[in-house]
Symmetry: C2
Subunit: 159 residues, 2 copies
């Protein structure tokens, strides 16, 4: 199979210089703000995105070198297959986050629900579409027990 | 910025040899079944994914060569920025689909809600986690009017 070569469309700047205080998913801490700095040549690609409340960011876990086929997720000390967890130690280091759009000015998309490191190479932005992307009757394997009865687990912010 | 080089983790087989009859999003036709054929070396990475109802597939739009910064989406004849639509004519040809897991046998993940072409290179599989990925109070710009009052638009299957 041929390799797939991608060129970043921009850089994500966030308050997180390292893993300290970073939430495991953006929805667990919506106070910090991040910025997608899109290359000028793609600036026009942001047109009309300001009318959406949320965007999907796809990016490169550029600081992660290791690959683990089974690994322990942040939420529990039990190993699971890498495709059943959201760990960055994946065969392809692709990150995926749903973020809240705050505003778009020129080539800059300001967002909250930040869960990526400062300097992350941005690969794509897609509009989050509730008609396509929200799902009902969802079963989440080893994860559901951590959220039972409205519980929010303690390990949602890294130390 | 450095280019990002990815190696497919497997191939997706689907009933769609070309665009004919393919839904614009998998949720609009859940009858056909697709299969992710994961490389043997990553087979163990699927462990525990069978306890999830849905997965996120990230893949390469390998048949798409063109890039359009503004384009007309399938749902309407009006141009929007590429980052405000889900078209494959993107700067990086990355596809993203949420699919329903039917079963997993060895290195094969059988799924419904299929919206990709047969032979699509698979880049990543992530568990869909309702606690992370479902969003409330979502506003979807130019798309919402097509789904007003429970309407399902006519252009959800390609011809």
């Amino acid at each position: 199979m041929e390799e797939v070569i991608l060129n970043p469309i921009g850089i994500i700047n966030t308050p997180y210089k390292d893993q300290k205080n970073i939430p495991i998913q953006g929805c667990f801490d919506n106070s910090p703000e991040g910025v997608c700095n899109v290359l000028d040549k793609y600036s026009e690609g942001l047109s009309d995105l300001q009318d959406f409340s949320h965007a999907i960011l796809i990016y490169h876990f550029h600081k992660t070198k290791e690959e683990k086929i089974k690994a322990r997720p942040y939420l529990e000390p039990v190993e699971h297959g890498v495709f059943a967890i959201r760990s960055p130690y994946r065969p392809n280091k692709i990150g995926f986050s749903i973020v809240k759009i705050n505003k778009i000015i020129g080539n800059k998309l300001f967002f909250s629900e930040v869960d990526m490191l400062d300097g992350t190479p941005l690969l794509d932005i897609k509009p989050f579409v509730k008609h396509f992307d929200n799902r009902e009757n969802v079963k989440c394997g080893w994860i559901d027990k951590h959220f039972e009865n409205g519980n929010i687990p303690e390990q949602t912010i890294l130390h």
